[in-house]
């Protein structure tokens, strides 16, 4: 849809619930037969108790979330009406308008309401409405009559319904292609491209797909997470990665559609719904038919020093979008064991996974959409690390039997000895296969050196292919020793995770983060970046997109 055109009336399509009800063709996360390891570690009642604790931990945060919005959420709502353009100096229009509304102190009514008001005042398109709103003395406008207020809401609900129908129609196209072509058997092989230039990325992504990759992640330019706007257009310059823009998403997804058809196998695309623009990225990704997004309830707080209020509010809205549009999220617990010691901090991964799941479920995500993160990061100088890693990964599989799970390769202890590094990665490949990971980020032998070269990806895909073939069926062949190293490790990590969940349930999640209980990193409620973009919802707050996302849209 073009923002310069009049908004189209609802075509009467009622697509809203279609995707989230059925789910797309089930892709990653082939359910592993866990009989061989279940209950050796922990009882069902204990897992249920962990879930209950996580639910109680997230409850007060959800209360806070429901009373607040952010500049990024309001910009996302505007993007839904096709306002994806940028003004002079590349400033996105949605930033210009939301900043104007925020400065005038009227954003607490919701950006959609203001757009509706301008349309009711004679603007003939969303773009025209933006121009009128920027020019108007918003602070001095008389409040509308109750009747007019009702008319604004009615208009915007209708327009929102039409826009969401269009969004879902696009996601259905994605799912139809996925169903038609089919996907590889789990674990899906996930590799990254990161040239900085979207057109070079396309070439690398196609080559990776030809070599056997199932998921392409376009790594973002370093520090994009700290930008309080989404850059505009196709980009060819980036540091350590390529800017996430809606146009870049479109270019890559179209190239992968073409490549998928050629190869007769659906190739997934993922990007990063993290940082200060979680929900805007989620929207742009859904619109451009991406399949997955890295999206974590706490990652931005801990590893990017983004304000925790901002992150909690933003993650909810972004996950609501993922839930509706059938995007699979990947959580970032692997990061905990790169900053903290992987042996000592293994339990924080598991505790955080339960918390991420609880936040995800409350945002409407289904099990098949939860790519719960974990990593192979124990110091390889220690004895028995393969057994310990296997125990940890089996534990996560046991706790989240219906989630795809996302396995991350070693990074922290990687070395410039690429031959050793390749062998090290293969150990992680074995654990990924054994424990039925849905999504497997393949380790690169040059991890310690540079963003992957084409040959690095080729060698990793070849190695993983061999391991998947060779270890097929391994999980069904072994019954673990109840008192062995693997089961013992799983029980120990789970026990410690329970203790942490109990502690966090008592102290509260925000204070626990303040005490560096996750990733060895302490953050305060009012510290970090982006707090100025958080605001309380006003008495008359209106967000028709959220109404649909939460399934409480009044029937027209």
């Amino acid at each position: 849809m073009s923002a310069g055109q009049p908004l189209s009336a609802s075509k009467g399509r009622q697509a809203a619930d279609r995707i989230c009800e059925k789910g797309p063709p089930r892709t990653p996360g082939a359910r592993l037969s866990v009989e061989s390891m279940a209950n050796l570690f922990v009882e069902d009642s204990q897992v249920a108790q962990a879930r209950e604790l996580a639910s109680r931990i997230t409850e007060p945060v959800l209360g806070f979330i429901s009373q607040h919005t952010t500049v990024s959420i309001e910009r996302t709502v505007l993007r839904l009406y096709g306002l994806s353009g940028a003004g002079p100096r590349g400033v996105p229009l949605v930033n210009t308008l939301v900043d104007r509304l925020h400065a005038a102190g009227v954003l607490d009514r919701g950006a959609a309401w203001w757009l509706g008001r301008a349309l009711r005042m004679g603007a003939n398109s969303p773009l025209d409405a933006v121009e009128k709103l920027i020019a108007l003395p918003l602070e001095r406008l008389d409040p509308p009559t109750a009747e007019e207020d009702g008319a604004i809401r009615e208009l915007m609900r209708k327009e929102t319904r039409a826009a969401v129908d269009e969004l879902l129609r696009r996601c259905e196209q994605r799912d139809a292609l996925k169903k038609e072509l089919g996907t590889a058997k789990a674990p899906l092989r996930y590799v990254i491209v990161a040239t900085g230039n979207i057109f070079d990325d396309v070439e690398q992504a196609k080559a990776a797909a030809q070599a056997g990759a199932d998921i392409i992640a376009v790594i973002r330019s370093t520090a994009q997470s700290l930008l309080d706007y989404v850059p505009h257009g196709a980009t060819t310059e980036g540091y350590g990665g390529t800017y996430a823009t809606q146009e870049n998403f479109r270019i890559m997804r179209e190239a992968l559609d073409e490549e998928s058809k050629r190869l007769g196998r659906y190739i997934h695309l993922t990007n990063y719904s993290s940082g200060l623009c979680m929900s805007e990225i989620a929207f742009a990704a859904a619109w451009e038919r991406l399949d997955m997004l890295l999206n974590d309830a706490m990652y931005g707080i801990l590893f990017r020093d983004i304000n925790m209020q901002r992150t909690f509010i933003d993650q909810y809205f972004s996950r609501r979008i993922c839930a509706l549009t059938g995007i699979i999220i990947n959580t970032g617990e692997d990061n905990y064991v790169t900053t903290a010691d992987a042996f000592d901090a293994a339990y924080t991964v598991v505790a955080s996974e339960f918390i991420n799941e609880a936040f995800g479920k409350r945002a409407g995500l289904k099990d098949w959409q939860l790519g719960i993160g974990l990593a192979y990061e124990l110091d390889p100088a220690l004895p028995q690390t393969f057994l310990l890693e296997l125990g940890q990964a089996m534990l996560v599989r046991r706790c989240f039997p219906d989630a795809p799970l996302k396995y991350m390769p070693p990074t922290k202890h990687k070395s410039g000895d690429i031959f050793w590094s390749h062998a090290y990665d293969l150990m992680a490949d074995i654990v990924a296969k054994w424990t039925g990971q849905g999504i497997h980020l393949l380790g690169m032998m040059t991890e310690a050196m540079h963003t992957p070269l084409m040959m690095d990806r080729y060698v990793a895909l070849k190695g993983a292919g061999y391991v998947y073939r060779a270890f097929d069926g391994i999980a069904d062949e072994f019954v673990l020793k109840p008192d062995g190293v693997i089961a013992g490790r799983a029980r120990k990590v789970f026990g410690e995770a329970m203790e942490l969940l109990e502690e966090v349930e008592k102290t509260g999640l925000m204070p626990a983060i303040g005490k560096a209980r996750f990733g060895d990193i302490a953050r305060t409620e009012t510290g970090g970046k982006g707090l100025e973009g958080v605001l309380g919802k006003g008495e008359h707050y209106f967000n028709p997109f959220l109404e649909i996302l939460e399934g409480r849209s009044p029937k027209a």
Partner: protein
């Protein structure tokens, strides 16, 4: 100096002295074929290899071939002629060093560190500064005689310098991990310029570290020393303590 050094001619060692054997891996942007294999051999020849042996040619993608090729190099190096400065560290253990600082300098040493610029990777600076350290070598925070403050990642150069100045820091550690398009070099030069502008250059000990950093590069960029891969917190601690003592003389 150089005239005192004897000639020492060396070549890569594969199976026998002076055989010059080198293993290479690369991709050529053409599909695998006998012609592609010949291209790989010719490419090796142009690089000065004799007896290039293509160990494997594989289809890395439709239009790309992956090669592993062995060759014998016709080149040699006079080892005696090479002049590379190395960080000279008189190394003491953690306990011993703390006692030594107490006796020799008589106060805690203030060290600020960060991964500066747009780089978001804390792994290097964490390994050196955080309590835990790396590979069993405890970080500077574990040294009672160091007041070590790790500011984390994505810290602007000016902010690190301003904070170091305010804290009257003895040393500043700059970590640079991301090297795409040489951003680490640009940022390091920017740091040195800002240190000069702030008037701390030549006073505060300025150290650079990262996976693609070596001592020679750090010196060229204007730092006092550089710490590359494999450097430990104990190396940095010893260097700083001795440099501070030296400056006090």
């Amino acid at each position: 100096m150089s005239e005192t050094k004897a000639k020492q001619i060396i070549r890569p060692y594969g199976d026998r002295m002076d055989d010059g054997i080198v293993q290479t891996a690369f991709v050529l942007p053409v599909p695998p074929s006998e012609k592609a294999k010949e291209a790989a051999r010719l490419f090796m020849k142009k690089m000065g290899f004799v007896d290039a042996k293509v160990a494997t040619m594989e289809r890395a993608a439709e239009n790309y071939s992956f090669f592993v090729v062995y060759g014998r190099s016709s080149h040699s190096i006079d080892y005696g002629e090479i002049d590379v400065p190395e960080v000279i560290i008189k190394k003491m253990g953690r306990v011993q060093l703390n006692e030594w600082i107490g006796k020799t300098i008589g106060r805690r040493l203030v060290v600020l560190g960060a991964c500066t610029g747009t780089d978001s990777h804390t792994v290097g600076i964490d390994a050196i500064m955080n309590m835990k350290g790396f590979d069993g070598d405890f970080g500077l925070e574990r040294y009672p005689m160091f007041d070590a403050r790790n500011l984390g990642a994505q810290v602007p150069n000016e902010e690190l310098i301003a904070k170091a100045k305010a804290a009257n820091a003895d040393a500043i550690l700059v970590s640079q991990i991301v090297t795409q398009r040489d951003v680490h070099l640009d940022n390091s030069r920017d740091f040195i310029q800002k240190a000069k502008d702030a008037g701390i250059y030549g006073k505060t000990i300025l150290l650079l570290g990262g996976p693609r950093i070596d001592h020679k590069l750090a010196l060229e960029l204007g730092f006092e020393a550089g710490f590359g891969p494999g450097s430990k917190a104990s190396d940095v601690a010893n260097y700083i303590a001795h440099a501070v003592a030296e400056k006090a003389k």
